[in-house]
């Protein structure tokens, strides 16, 4: 176990005001189970899970309520026991509607879980990753890609490096930070399982240098681990937490365009995902709750809450002392890539790492002035695109032109819009352009 200062840093990136001190010192606090949970069937990337309970059913905590529905999909379990009040539709954090199982919780302590498995070393790798899938574990950094799929790369793509993503480069958010400080041991064990499943020789924990206490906690917990293990200390720069940029920062490898991390022998897992893998494999516990940072200048008591997936934002805010003054914007996630939502009646999910409430003074307005070609977006783009030019193509409805200069490589990190002096809504343009390209591709497929 060593600590290395990462010799690389991706080109581009920005340095927003991090505002992490609001919640960074708040120890993880467990939220009492709310009386009512609205558990979305889509808490992951891919097809929503298919509900397997119906209104009126009595269910136990940990019971399967939505089954995996396709290859890129994930199972959903009940975070608490009680009665299924309804199979309803819920608007999730991303603004999309999906089916949701509404549970009236009864406070019973009875849990249903897979049998515990402490001696996992002797177990077949396929069986272990199946267990991770059965527990409904998905990437908890934000994208929600099913972990089971990531842990079963095709045999022609050998994985030599596992990177645990503890960068947490989004401003305000501190949930991964608190996990690393308070659950380092479990993260270590989860990492060991992931490394074992993938047969990787190298393990790196990527942490930005603005979290010295997390680095220290991880160093201590990982100290007794065998093999090529190291904490990779990254320069604090947004978006260090982005998969491709992080792989480059840690290993110097560039994931090819249109490719996946496994194309360069890497798998990146969020630190909280490693915890969930440990919980699933060793304790047999499905992923039904997570730590979420409830923060922002309009929250009375910014906190890091361990809350069941399906808790309404309103319940989280109430547990943090309510709204301070007046909130002007509710953001699901962080300020760079999060989604603005219209009410607090939105349920959390497996990927919800933060809930941000901002007062009017903190709300930025993006207008659509003419581009003055300052080139700052070109310097800031971590994918090395030309956002100014892309946005002009899209404004002119020349979608093919935008596609020709790598529109689809945009990761929507927001660095371009952040630095734009003309305050152009660049990411919005990119989203619109990408949607148009996808629609055109789908139409072409249909013939």
């Amino acid at each position: 176990m060593t600590t290395i200062r990462s010799p690389h840093t991706f080109r581009g990136g920005i340095h927003p005001a991090y505002n992490k001190d609001l919640a960074a010192g708040a120890a993880i606090r467990e939220l009492p189970t709310p009386a009512r949970l609205t558990v979305p069937m889509s808490q992951h990337l891919g097809a929503p899970a298919k509900p397997v309970v119906k209104a009126g059913d009595m269910i136990k905590a940990g019971q399967l309520i939505g089954e995996q529905n396709g290859f890129i999909s994930a199972a959903v379990h009940a975070p608490a026991g009680g009665k299924v009040a309804a199979i309803d539709s819920a608007v999730t954090a991303s603004g999309r509607a999906c089916a949701a199982v509404v549970i009236e919780t009864d406070g019973s302590a009875e849990r249903q879980a897979m049998p515990a498995l402490t001696e996992w070393r002797g177990v077949d790798r396929k069986e272990l990753s199946a267990r991770v899938g059965e527990a409904g574990v998905v990437g908890m950094g934000g994208a929600g890609f099913p972990t089971r799929v990531k842990l079963s790369p095709p045999s022609d793509k050998p994985i030599d490096t596992v990177i645990l993503n503890g960068a947490e480069c989004e401003p305000y958010l501190t949930s991964d930070h608190r996990m690393m400080v308070e659950r380092a041991r479990e993260i270590r064990d989860g990492a060991e399982i992931i490394r074992h499943i993938l047969g990787a020789k190298c393990l790196r924990v990527a942490i930005e240098d603005n979290k010295p206490d997390a680095i220290a906690a991880i160093e201590q917990a990982f100290a007794d681990m065998d093999g090529d293990v190291a904490v990779a200390v990254l320069k604090t720069s947004y978006p260090q937490g982005s998969e491709k940029q992080q792989i480059y920062s840690v290993t110097g490898r560039e994931v090819p365009r249109g490719g996946l991390p496994m194309d360069v022998g890497c798998v990146v897992e969020n630190v909280s995902t490693a915890f969930a893998v440990w919980d699933a494999v060793v304790n047999g516990e499905p992923l039904t709750r997570r730590v979420i940072s409830v923060t922002g200048d309009a929250v009375a008591g910014p906190s890091n809450l361990l809350a069941p997936c399906g808790t309404l934002y309103a319940d989280l805010v109430a547990a943090c002392g309510g709204i301070k003054g007046k909130a002007a914007k509710i953001i699901s996630g962080g300020p760079m890539m999060g989604f603005a939502v219209g009410s607090l009646d939105v349920p959390t999910g497996k990927t919800a790492s933060g809930l941000l409430l901002l007062s009017a003074g903190k709300v930025t307005c993006f207008t659509s002035q003419a581009c003055i070609s300052c080139g700052r977006c070109v310097d800031a783009c971590p994918m090395r695109l030309a956002p100014a030019e892309l946005s002009q193509f899209i404004e002119a409805d020349d979608i093919g032109g935008a596609e020709g200069i790598a529109l689809m490589d945009c990761i929507e990190c927001g660095s371009c819009a952040f630095v734009c002096p003309a305050r152009r809504p660049l990411v919005q343009h990119m989203r619109r352009g990408k949607a148009a390209v996808m629609a055109r591709r789908a139409a072409a497929k249909r013939g």
Binding site: R257, P335, A340, T364, S373, G375, V378, A406, F418, C420
Partner: protein, 352 residues
Amino acid sequence: MKPEAVSKDFYVISSSPHTHSGASVERIMLDVVIALLPAFAAALWFFRLDALRLTTVCVATCLAAEWACRKAMRRGNSISDLSAVVTGMLLAFNLPPALPSWMAAAGSLFAIVVAKQVFGGLGYNPFNPALVGRAFMLISFTGAMTTWSASEWTQKLRYAAVDAATAATAAADAVTSATPLGYAKEALKAGKDLPIFDLSLLRDFFLGNINGCVGETSALALLIGAAYLLARKVITWHIPVAYLLTVLAYAAVLRLTAPSTSLPPLAHLFSGGLMLGAFFMATDMVTTPVTRRGMLVFGIGCGIITMLIRTVKSGAYPEGVSFAILIMNAFTPLINRATRNRVFGAKRARHE
């Protein structure tokens, strides 16, 4: 309908990101104005009321023209973005001190109306408005744009081989006067040896105690402003450094191959509009490339064209900074296209 009318408890919905660096067009323009103040102070010192008169006329005319154009086009008003102030200052700094006010006003009108607003205003103009204004004036008012007030700087010139004829020419020059580059061009055309540019003369060049346009003579004042722009990250070093190094290298080669008829490289560096052009006009965001490599290409191109205009014997103009930048402005879209960054993860090849 105002959002308040819908509900008292509304929340703002918008696409990410939800935070911003705070950078603004107004702040950038304000920084350029601030960076031009040392040169303005030097201009007041050397050219007194003429500097104040021309700067006031240009800035006021530019603002008025901007306001009137936006009004006529029924577009939102844009004088508060300060870009018209920058154009006015730069144009004034590019004029001979004795120029009549009405000519300055005409040039300002041309700059804003024809070079900027006709294209749609800030961000859409392909050429630097101040330089278009100056080019218009150079063609329309050639005499006034190339007449320089009496100055004593030529009296300091010394010759290697003093004979009666050169001494007489020097005396005549002291009366008619010229800019250093104009003087050099005349000598080149007449096939005469150039005077010796020693250190004391170069010091005058550097401080700005020579003939020239209102705001271009003091390299020192311009460099102070340039340092401010670099520190504020309004400009990057790429264009100015590429531009100045190209001029230096070009001048050094000339000096080595034809020492008697070419100026020393440092004289080229500190004379004419090079400092003003390299730091304040070749860095105009709207009309120059966005990529770092493109900026280098742009700077090198400006340097070569400037030196061609300055030193080709049959050329009409002694100075070429304005034209060099305007010509390179025309290439900006092409340079942008040719110097796009390699997309992250793309193969390292010349062409994808």
